[in-house]
């Protein structure tokens, strides 16, 4: 199977994630979209690793997963805290830094 197809899938996933981040208000959904983008990048890394016949890309993919896991822990904690104090998970409501 042509490995380039994986790249197309990766690009489509990334685009869906990016559009989701920009257009959705729900923090949880935005968060999931960010994860989607990270995984799209991971898929690209692995694909390039396969194409080039080296293991570098696969190693980077592991790093990315670890970073993503950490991010999920911190990010979800923030979202939950915001939800507790404001009774809302909309990221447009949390725009107080401007003032």
């Amino acid at each position: 199977m042509n490995p380039y197809n994986y790249l197309y899938v990766s690009a489509i996933l990334f685009t869906i994630g990016a559009v989701g981040v920009v257009v959705r208000r729900n923090a949880i959904v935005v968060f999931m979209c960010v994860e989607l983008m990270l995984n799209a990048a991971n898929l690209s890394f692995v694909t390039f690793s396969r194409i080039n016949g080296t293991l570098d890309g696969q190693v980077v993919a592991f790093f990315t997963m670890v970073v993503a896991a950490c991010e999920v822990v911190v990010g979800l904690a923030i979202i939950v805290t915001i939800y507790r104090s404001r009774r809302s998970a909309s990221i447009d409501d949390a725009s107080l830094l401007k003032r």
Binding site: V21, V22, V23, D92, A94, S95, L97
Partner: protein, 631 residues
Amino acid sequence: MTTSTSLVYLIALPLFGATILLLAGRRADKWGHLLATALSASSFGVGLYQLSQMLSRPTEERAVGQKLFSWINVGTFNVDAGLLLDQLSICFVLLITGVGTLIHIYSISYMSHDENRRRFFAYLNLFIAAMLLLVLGDSYLNLYVGWEGVGLASYLLIGFWNQKPAYATASKKAFVMNRIGDMGLSFAIMIAFATLGTVSFSGVEEASHTASKAALTAIGVMLLVAATGKSAQFPLQAWLGDAMAGPTPVSALIHAATMVTAGVYLIIRSNFIFDAAPTAQLLVVIVGAITLLFGAFIGTAKDDIKKALAASTMSQIGYMILGAGLGPAGYAFAIMHLLTHGFFKAGMFLGAGSVMHGMNDQVDMRRYGALRKFMPITFITFGLGYLAIIGVPPFAGFYSKDLIIETAFNAGGVKGILLGSTALLGAAITAFYMTRVMVLTFTSKERWEENQHPHESPILMWLPMAILAIGSVTTGFLFTRGDALANWLNPVFGEHGEGHEEHLFEPIVVSGMALVAVAIGVAIAIMKYQLSEVDSVAPQNVSIFTRIARKDLMQDSFNEAVFMRPGQKLTSLLVRGDESVVDGAVRGIGRTALGAGAVLRKTQTGFARSYAALILIGAIALIAGIWVVTQ
């Protein structure tokens, strides 16, 4: 050169007095004036001791020096703070400390009602110290320190009564005009250092034999500028008349006898430069000749007794500068006139102070008259000074002024005739305006204001006047007997070929002409003021010449129109330029940053999604850019 360790005491004693009096403050009010007078007198004592030491040495070893400390030591440029006492400086030292002490004594009485008398004496002592440093410094740099010191003392003393705005302005005017001259002196020092590599008198004298004429001329002209500032010579003369705002003893000491003659000292001390730079020397003569007429003309129209005397000082210093510019032939005579002038002019100023003292500080001569009967001692001492200044034999001024006129005639050619006639004309005008002062004050009819009770001054005031009067009678005779002063000073002026120039007139003829000129001046003045009625208010319907002379020959109007107004325009222009260009640039940067911030802050919405969108757009733009470039 022989070293003398006691030279420094000449300066240190009065400086010590000034320090004590200024630091002790009100605590010294009771005894400050006595301490200052005693220190000035002891400085005079040191001067006399130095003179006796000097007389006991052979001619070539008479100059003594003292190195105080190493002042500037940079590479090949070494200046020591050193003192030099030679035949020329000793004349000045004795004049400054002698006349200075007399004026200290006079001021004890004259200033006794002033609550700031202690401060006055502190400044007087400061002046004596600075003036001694000026004449004792062994390099131009040391002289410069004293030069600035006397400028400061003069400024402080002119504005001594600075509660009156006019007096404060007068002191500022003197200071500012002196700055122009000081600038000349500092330029001269810089040129000397740049071209000759040294600033000491002996070093410059040695270097002047081989230096280029252009450099020497530049130094000479700059020294002349310095001299015109300090000595109130044309074109920097305008400050002297206003300087009379100071207490009268100050006018006598600083603005008649000593400080204003510093310019003459400077030129004569730099004789080697002017001898080697004829152009500069010619300028000196011209300045002297112009000023001696300028001052004399102003003197004829002044009704303020002190201003009339100030104009006369200007004119007499013109004579000295003229003599100093006539080269080796005139140096000794310039110094002689300086010394005799120190006596008779200081005496007359003290006399004027005495008159003011008796007339409730009235200075308008049109309000005097007939004071001879009420102030006999002042009349006699003033009269002796008067006879000396107009040049009646055998009084001092006759000898010294006569010699300058004679030397001027002997300068050769058209120049000699021009200078000689100028000096002669000056003598006639001097006789006129001094007789006018004399007649208006002492011998004409009373024109007093009401409630005037003229009375003789106390002994502390008339004693110094009497001593100065004796000086103005005898010094001329003493100095010329066997050419005493000329022979005494000769070693200072170096070797000059005994030039027997053509004498245009025999000395006796010159004396005769001078006496005729004086007689004419006196006669006119007596006719105008003694034998006819004098208005007690200055008449207004007078000739254009009188009007101009009353306004000091338009010197202030000229300075105002040519220098002050354009200067103000220039500064206001520069201020506007500063505000619009420099400040504009600074404010513009601020405004740009503010404006940019106002625009850019709109992108900071606080919405996380818009930031994400911006990051996305940025990333896309970046990639697109790279793609375009690499294609």
